[in-house]
């Protein structure tokens, strides 16, 4: 039998048959190196099996919770910074685009007739839009007074402006408080 077979048996979890066990015993009786390896492995295995579970220092959970809180704040800060950066890039792009359009268009003063014509067309468009909205709302909830539509439109516009303002204020406050905490640390 090859020597590697005995080697396999020495470090195997289960030795298999009684015959294999007997063969290994006979081999160990004549092979000093395998005997030494077997004794060494027995000792190492005993050490491993007797070695207890090691506990962390007291307060592990509290330290983890503190670390989670810190990590969450850092993550929020990164996210708000990224949002502000995206907003900044968007604004800068818009400003650059406007500047490019302005620069590429020959500067000329519009005459009064053209301005009046544009204003009339705009009013006509608004009137058409108002008519469509009124038709849709009337089909849904019945007849609606024109003043209610104008008032509702105003309220919705104000609410949207308020939400955008609140969002920008929140971003500003998050960044400010994170910067303050960072400075304290």
């Amino acid at each position: 039998m090859s020597h590697s077979q005995y080697d396999d048996w020495l470090f195997s979890d289960d030795l298999g048959s009684a015959q294999e066990s007997g063969e290994l015993r006979q081999h160990l009786a004549v092979c000093a190196q395998c005997r030494a390896l077997q004794a060494a492995w027995s000792q190492v295995r005993r050490d491993l099996e007797e070695s207890p579970l090691v506990a962390p220092r007291l307060g592990f959970r509290a330290r983890w919770e503190a670390r989670l809180a810190l990590e969450s704040r850092r993550r929020e800060r990164r996210q708000s910074t990224a949002l502000l950066a995206i907003l900044g890039v968007f604004l800068a792009g818009a400003i650059l685009a406007c500047a490019w359009l302005f620069a590429s268009t020959p500067l000329r003063l519009p005459d009064v007739g053209e301005l009046l014509s544009r204003a009339v067309r705009g009013m006509a468009n608004l009137s058409a839009l108002f008519y469509v909205v009124r038709q849709i709302l009337s089909s849904l909830v019945g007849p609606i007074a024109p003043a209610a539509i104008v008032g509702g439109g105003g309220v919705l516009t104000a609410a949207a402006a308020g939400l955008i303002g609140a969002w920008l204020l929140l971003l500003y406050q998050i960044n400010g408080s994170q910067a303050q905490k960072g400075a304290q640390r």
Binding site: H3, Q33, Q38, A40, W41, V44, S51, F60, R63
Partner: protein
């Protein structure tokens, strides 16, 4: 690891709550699994400070990656898998072994089962021997030996946890056992150095 069905059901419930965003439920899981996870990190990294950091990081990664957790699986086993990968990454980043025996003696939280000075000394000696033996194994082999001997995990579960095949785990386990025995022989006697023993032609 324990197999108390009530405890398992409780852990599964906390894991479900944690997956729904309940931070306190996950903190309870941290409380329950802090010892096994820290022990794994300590056995793999051999340094109490880094083991604490790795265990904390492993729990953070587990918390952030709860959407990847399969509820059919035992939560403790999944946590150990996350911790093992964290330790393997750290060991691979190390340029050389950094076993700190002083730190090992002073900071490790070994349970004080036998308070006699002689027993304590023997325990310390045994722990140091284990740490030195494990310190030279490859990160993956160290994880396999730790999961096998401290958590009594079946080879199939170890293979699942480490992303290996069962036969690869079996082969690595065999090789690691031989390596540990050879190292033990080296340290026990001023005889042949590492590698020399396996180079000696064995009698047939």
């Amino acid at each position: 690891m324990r197999i108390d069905p009530t405890q398992l059901a409780q852990e599964a419930q906390w894991a479900r709550q944690a997956r729904q965003g309940d931070e306190q439920a996950f903190a309870r899981l941290v409380e329950v699994f802090q010892v096994p996870v820290y022990n794994l990190c300590y056995r793999m990294l051999s340094e109490p400070g880094e083991a604490e950091d790795a265990a904390q990081e492993a729990f953070l990664k587990a918390y952030r990656g709860l959407h990847r957790y399969d509820p059919e699986r035992r939560f403790g086993s999944w946590c150990l898998s996350v911790a093992a990968h964290e330790c393997i990454d750290r060991l691979r980043r190390r340029r050389q072994p950094t076993l700190a025996l002083d730190a090992l003696d002073q900071e490790a939280g070994f349970p004080d089962a036998s308070p006699g000075p002689e027993s304590v000394a023997m325990r310390r000696e045994q722990e140091t021997r284990v740490a030195i033996l494990l310190d030279r194994l490859s990160p993956l082999d160290r994880a396999i030996i730790t999961l096998k001997y401290w958590y009594d995990m079946p080879l199939e579960e170890i293979a699942d946890d480490l992303g290996l095949t069962t036969s690869a785990v079996k082969s690595r386990l065999h090789r690691s056992r031989r390596e540990l025995a050879e190292r033990y022989l080296e340290s026990a006697s001023p005889g042949p150095k590492r590698g020399e023993l396996s180079d000696v032609p064995l009698p047939v």
